[in-house]
Amino acid sequence: MSENLREQLLLLPDYFQGHLTLTLIAMSLGVAVSIPLGVWAAQSNRVKGPLLTVVSIIQTIPSVAILALVVALLGGRIGLVPAITALVLYSMLPIVRNTVTGLESVTDDVVEAARGIGMSSRQILLQVRIPLALPVIIAGIRTAMVWTVGLATLSTLVGATSFGNFIFSGLQTRNLVAVTVGSVAAAAMAVILDAIIGGIQWLAENRVVQVDEKRFRRVRNAVMTALILCGGFIIYSLLPEEEVDFVVGGKGFTEQYIIAGLVAAELEGAGFSTEQRLGMGTDVVYEATASNSVDVYLEYSGTVWSNQMLREDNPGRETIMAEVNDYIARTDNLTNGSRLGFQNLYALAMRRDRAAEMGISSISDLRPYAADMVAGGDLEFFSRPEWLQLRDTYNIDFGEKLTFDTTLMYSAVNEGQVDIISAYTTDGRVAAFDLLILEDPEGALPPYDGFLAVSSEAAMNPGFMAVVGNLERKISDVAMRQANRMVDVDGRPVSEAVAYLQTFLD
């Protein structure tokens, strides 16, 4: 077994627990909410139309957007609560719709017979209509279950552990083994949970006629065992976890994974227990740290400068760092635990041979060519203030602007599918693909000093602050680029890059 696969499989129990917890709790709540809503809708046409419209609309909102909205609505809370909320919202459509359809498909004859022998409306519902609608309702639950298992992988983005941790970190670090392990595990979980509900459905349908007593009993025992295990599992998962000392957060790209790993390793070395929540969006992890759900993560001065402070000017690297420190302390009670030394700047990069051919070495040289060029940006670049600043300062705009996942963006420029990309200065792929970083003579792009943003609670712990402070100015641009390159280009595990960076510490 390869080292990589072994490393991934070691993570499996933890991610399995996270994923199953999310799925089971979200499905239990989804069923508990959706069936009564479906019953209500089936009784009243006034409710039915609007309700089905609302749950359908929820379904059409992209799942990543729902997650972000839920986090915002919950005031920056991350982890299980927003993930489960989003999953419950997503599970509603098939269950509500099938409940309504199932109840409506019960024939009037049977309902009238139930009335005629003296059942109350409630008894008709519970003893006749719901049991007869059950196969259709269960079919809806099965659909929702499969969706939920799949969507639960996205919970990683809001800091809840799931099989998505394999998939997102695998995609970022070009680790296809991790992506495969995550996908196979999620598929297997979907199949098994679906089989359990299928078993319940079979039992419900064969409840009265016991065609084959032995088989019935076998299925019943299997289903009961599975249900007891699931129930026990939920209870186990809801037990207050052994509280770790510090939560290390991170966004979803390689450098973040490496620095989070480094910080966690250093904290563990100092005797603290840690937990990593990686792959979160920029705003999500910032809010989470402000609300003490995360204790420390790698942030960049330029990100805060433009995203939080909405500044577009560039008064210089030191001034910006100082103003950012002041701003995060004042508005969100965050502390700059240490400035690591490297800058991960946004920059424009081209293939060296192509730049030479066109005689381009700085952004100002682009002016005559830009209108005919195809540019690639990461998912956010062209909507960021930096790009607007660049565009206005140099008075350039590209003929065509495409957005890419960063990994794909680098191969696109390398293979000539795009002429120029938004690169990061510490990215290992800049060196690996021998790209030329264009100079920025006007200083349009703000500096991006990497620093450790620390939550207010963690900042009060001197031991923690000592560990974090020890990283001050220890990691140079070159070191960071090399660490990134080990993972992104050479396909080495994050742990090796962490070990490499640890050689720079005392």
Binding site: D109, V110, A113, I117, G118, M119, V208, V209
Partner: protein, 257 residues
């Protein structure tokens, strides 16, 4: 036992009358046939007796008590009802179907079990053999026997039947008609049976009420209807079975000779 006084029913606030000014009385132990074409108001009349429909005006009483003053669910549990198109619960076994009303009345399980046995024996479907089956595993005739057993289960004095044998083949229908008549006589049940089959009404009913356009045209014994029809329509529908019987008679006679 059952009394209707000037009962009227309109579904459109009095523009038209599904049932117009109907009065009749059914004595204890009597089987009254309610006959007429579809849409004549016979099923509506039946359903007003156990309040599946509410009369627009008039008075309906059972054993001297106004049905409108009784809780509809409690009223229905105390009246046996045999449904058109059988109306068994498809997800209940035979035994559960028969036990449905006693369960609603919260009898204890031993009594329910015993009563299921009695009523299923009465309709010729022993509990041991048929109790666990689903309706879908039985023939139409067997299903309607279960329907009758279900109506009898809670020992009601009054049974309402809405075209109970309409969906059955002629042989099964004849068998069930006779059996039901026997059960009705043994238990001294008061029965109102809606039908559109005049032969069935003549053979089973003690008295027959003929309805047309929401009104009762005539009510009387089969003998009275056959011999003193008070109305052209009554004459027309009672003549039908008689003419057919005559024609059969002739055919039999001819083939015999």
């Amino acid at each position: 036992m059952i009394e209707l006084q000037h009962v009227r029913k309109s579904y459109d606030d009095g523009t038209s009358w599904a049932v117009a000014d109907t009065s009749f009385t059914v004595e204890e132990g009597e089987l009254l046939g309610l006959i007429g074409e579809s849409g004549c108001g016979k099923t509506t009349t039946l359903k007003m007796i156990n309040r599946l429909e509410e009369p627009s005006s008039g008075l309906i009483s059972i054993a001297g008590k106004n049905v409108m003053e009784r809780n509809p669910q409690e009223l229905r549990r105390n009246i046996g009802y045999v449904f058109q198109g059988i109306g068994l619960f498809p997800h209940y076994s035979v035994a559960e179907n028969v036990a449905a009303v006693p369960r609603l009345l919260q009898w204890d399980e031993t009594r329910i079990r015993q009563r299921c046995q009695e009523t299923l024996d009465m309709v010729g479907l022993p509990l041991e053999e048929y109790g666990e089956r689903l309706p879908s595993q039985m023939s139409g005739g067997q299903q309607q026997r279960v329907g009758v057993a279900r109506a009898l289960a809670a020992q009601p004095d009054v049974i309402l039947m809405d075209e109970p044998f309409g969906a059955l083949d002629p042989v099964t229908r004849a068998e069930l008609q006779e059996e039901f008549k026997r059960i009705q006589a043994t238990l001294n049940l008061t029965v109102i049976m809606v039908t559109h089959d005049m032969t069935e009404a003549l053979l089973m009913a003690d008295r027959i009420a003929v309805m047309k356009g929401g009104e009762v045209l005539q009510i009387g014994t089969p003998y009275e209807l056959l011999n003193e029809p008070a109305h052209d329509y009554v004459q027309e529908i009672v003549e039908m079975p008689r003419q057919r019987a005559d024609r059969l008679e002739k055919l039999l006679h001819r083939s015999a000779s």
